[in-house]
Amino acid sequence: MNLLTLAYKNLKRRKIRTGFTIIGIALSTWVLVTLLGFNKGYEQSLNKDIDAMGFQIVLTAKGCPYEAATLMLKGGTGLRYITESLFDDINKDMEVSAATPMLMHAEFDPYKGENGGTIVYLGVDNKTYPQMKSYFEFLAGNWFKNANAREVVLGYEAAELEQREIGDMMLLTGSEEEFTVVGILKRTGTQDDGMIFLPLKTLQEVFKKQNLLTMVGIQLQKEVNATAYEDKLYEIPDIQVVSMAQVKNTIISLVKSAKVIVFSIAFIAFLIAVFGVLNTVLMSVFERYQEIGILKSIGALPKHIFAMIWGETILLCSGGSIIGIVFSYLFADISENLARLFLPFAPNGSLIMLSPEIIITAFTAITLTGVLGGILPAIRAAHIRPLEAIRSDN
C-alpha cells in the first residue's frame, strides 16, 4: 500500500469531516473560478459591445446628457442639434478615415398603450453608415436605394414588434407619409436590434430637421493619436466628445470598485478554506497520535509520516478544487444572471468566460495553498515520538 492510498483511506475514515472540508474548498474554488472568468468575460464582452458601435469617437451637441433625460421624459422635445457643416469639416480632415452623420428623432405616439409612448427613429447616411457598421447582416433585404427614399430598415426586434416583412408598408408616428420596409437586420444583441433606420435626408425632411444632426460617428486613421485628436475636437465650441475608449474605461472603473469588494470576499473565503484544511488535518493528527506512534514503532520514518499527512492535505485540496471547478461550469448561467442584477452596466454577450488557463490557475492556486497549509500538521505528525505516543491516553 503506498502512502497516497493510505492517506485516502485515512480521509475516508472521517467521512463527514472530510466531506465538509471538501465542500469548503469547492466553494472557494467556485468563487475564484467564477471571478476569474468574470474578469475575462466582462472585458471581452465590453470590448465587443464598444467595437460593435463601429465608431471610435462620437460627437454630440453640448448639453446632450440633459437632453437624453428630456428624450425619455418628454418624448424628444427640446433636443439640441449640431449642424451638417460641422460634419462636412470633420469629414474633410485628413486624420479622419471615415465619418458618418446621424439624426436621432423621438416622437410621442399617443396610440401606444393607454397613455402613449415614445418611438425613436435613427436617420443614417446610406453610404457611410453601412461601411462603419460593416458587421451588420441582413435577415432579408438591404439598405435604402437612395438618400431620399421613403424606406426603412428595421432592427430584428423592431421588425418583430411591428410584424413587418420586406415590402410591407409602415407609417411613422408624426408623419402622414408611407414608408416601405426594404431591410430587416439580423439580431446583433445591441441597441440596434430595436431601431428603425431611415435615410438621413428623409428623416430630416419628414420631421423638418434640415441640416441638423444629433451625432457624428468618427473613425480615425490608424496612425492618428486618438487622445490628441479628441483634444483637438474639444476646441470646437458647443460640442461634446465621447470617445469609445473613454466609455470603456468609465465602465471598467465603475465595475472595478465592485470587483475589489468581491475579490476581497473571495480572498477571505479562500483563507477560511485554507485554515479549515489546516484545522481538519491537524485535528486528525492529534486524534491519531497513538496510531502514528505505532506506525513509527514498526519502522515508519518521519518522512513517511510527513508524506502521508501531506498527502491527505493534497487530496483534500485537489478533490475540493475539482468539485469547485465543476460547480463553476454548472452554475455559470446563474452566476451570470446574478452579476447582471448588481452591475451598473452589463454588456451583451457572456459575462463569465471560463477557459483552460483559468481552470489551471484556480486549481494550482488552491492546491498549492493547501499544500503549503499542510506542511505544519505534517511536520507535527513527523516529529511525534513513538514511545511517548503509545504510552499516552489519547
Partner: protein, 207 residues
C-alpha cells in the same frame, strides 16, 4: 464622467424601447383595475399552443380561424399571457391579447371576457393606422361587447364576410378608408377568442 454616463443611458434606453416583444399588458395592475374595477387581484399564466396541444391543436386552430397562421407572431411556440381576474379567490373574467399584423404596423388586440367567454371589453394596446384615433374610440370597441366565439364562427377572416344575419355584419367600420386595419382587427379578435377557447374554456368543460 457625467456625460459618459448619460451617453450610456442614451444607449441603454434606446435598447429598451423595443425590449418587450410579447403581448403582455403594459401595466397589468392599472389595466386590470380599469377593466374590472371590482376585482381584488389577478393571476398571470404564460401559455403557448405548443404546450397546450402541439401541432394538432395548431392545425385545428388554423381551421377554426379559416386562415393560415403566418409570420413570427403566429408560430406554434409564441408565448401568450393570460390574466385571470379574481374577486377574492373567484375568477370573474379574463384578459388576453394577441398580436395581429396591420397594414402599417403591428397591432395588439386585447379582449376581456366574463367567465363564459362573452366579450366585456375590446382594447387596442398598440395600433399604427392612419385612422388610429377612430379605431381606438370606445364607439368602435363597444361594438364587440356581448359577442363571443360562437358569433365569429361563420365569419370568414379572408374575405371579411359573415353569413346573413350574423352579429359580425353589424360591426361598423369607423374608418372605411382604413378597411385593411378594420379587417385585421376582426381577424385579431377571432384569433384571440379561439385561443381563449382552447386555453381556458375547453379545459373548464373537460373538468
Amino acid at each position: 464622467m457625467k456625460k459618459i454616463l448619460s451617453f450610456l443611458i442614451c444607449l441603454l434606453w434606446s435598447a429598451n424601447v423595443y425590449a418587450a416583444v410579447g403581448c403582455d399588458l403594459n401595466d397589468p395592475d392599472r389595466d386590470v383595475k380599469r377593466f374590472f374595477p371590482n376585482s381584488t387581484g389577478y393571476k398571470t399564466e404564460y401559455l403557448s399552443v405548443e404546450k397546450a396541444g402541439g401541432k394538432e391543436l395548431y392545425n385545428q386552430m388554423e381551421n377554426e380561424l379559416g386562415d393560415n397562421f403566418s409570420g413570427i407572431y403566429e408560430k406554434i411556440d409564441v408565448p401568450y399571457t393570460l390574466y385571470t381576474v379574481l374577486d377574492n379567490e373567484t375568477p370573474v373574467g379574463y384578459i388576453h391579447g394577441v398580436n395581429q399584423k396591420g397594414k402599417y404596423g403591428g397591432m395588439q388586440v386585447f379582449l376581456t371576457t366574463d367567465t363564459k367567454g362573452i366579450i366585456t371589453n375590446f382594447y387596442f394596446q398598440k395600433l399604427t393606422s392612419k385612422n388610429a384615433k377612430r379605431l381606438r374610440s370606445s364607439d368602435f370597441g363597444n361594438q364587440f361587447v356581448g359577442l363571443s366565439l360562437a358569433d365569429f364562427k361563420d365569419y370568414d377572416v379572408q374575405t371579411g364576410q359573415a353569413k346573413n344575419g350574423s352579429k359580425i355584419n353589424a360591426i361598423r367600420n369607423p374608418a372605411p378608408e382604413s378597411s385593411d386595419d378594420f379587417y385585421a382587427a376582426l381577424r385579431g379578435v377571432k384569433k384571440n377568442l379561439i385561443l381563449m377557447q382552447h386555453f381556458i374554456f375547453d379545459k373548464q368543460e373537460q373538468k
